[in-house]
Symmetry: C2
Subunit: 137 residues, 2 copies
């Protein structure tokens, strides 16, 4: 749940200038490609003290203010894409519920991603997103 309107939460997820401010959790994020439409490609490269990590995929569903789905392929396991889907729900009173899921082909791929530290990274990203949304008011 975010203390921000659905429009703001949607913007933060789809405007590359805003994405660059929270997705990397304080690390430099270079958005190499962001073709925001069904079938378009995206590629982000995160630069941290521990090295460089590339992520990329293709948009499969773009329903403005409602649903956003894309493939997600990490350079560390190339060719093993997951599918991320985010659903945006307006709760009224300037609050928004975000239901974000990540589907994997196999349990092994899921575990590989979890063991890479992804869960902690996502939580840090959401903390950064909270701060960004608070600043957008």
């Amino acid at each position: 749940m975010f203390d921000a309107t659905r429009e703001r939460v949607w913007q933060a997820h789809t405007d590359p200038r805003l994405l660059a401010q929270w997705w990397g959790r304080g690390n430099k994020l270079v958005i190499e490609r962001y073709e925001f439409e069904r079938g378009g490609h995206w590629r982000f490269v995160e630069h941290s003290d521990h090295g460089t990590h590339g992520f990329e995929g293709r948009f499969r569903e773009v329903v403005p203010m409602e649903r956003l789905s894309m493939t997600f392929d990490w350079d560390g396991m190339p060719g093993h894409p997951a599918v991320t889907t985010a659903a945006f729900e307006d709760l009224g009173d300037g609050r928004t519920k975000l239901v974000s899921t990540m589907q994997f082909y196999t349990p092994g791929e899921r575990d590989g991603m979890l063991n890479s530290g992804m869960e902690g990274g996502m939580n840090e990203s959401y903390v950064a997103l909270d701060a960004l949304l608070a600043g957008m008011k």
Copy 2:
């Protein structure tokens, strides 16, 4: 089973100049990208009388002469990748067995691909590959 050595069958699957001669089944095939290594990208565009079809993906496993695996995303269902894997087995006497599989995330995606006429297209491709291999002797 192909009446050609494993080296020839491998070459026909991995040399873009040779791929362009059979993959498109007589249609013009433009190989826009072919980064032949784990993590590299590929993109083929087939031009036929019925229109243009793009296909792309990322190499996930490249074991020379033995195994080749990649994601396969058709522009008609973008962001719904399948995984193709080909295993090359030397049968001796200049013959090679090829076991080619295509895995989908969901039955619906499998059926969508089959209904697109893909199975007939693949059979036509293999006829064209047979002819190419015969000419390489």
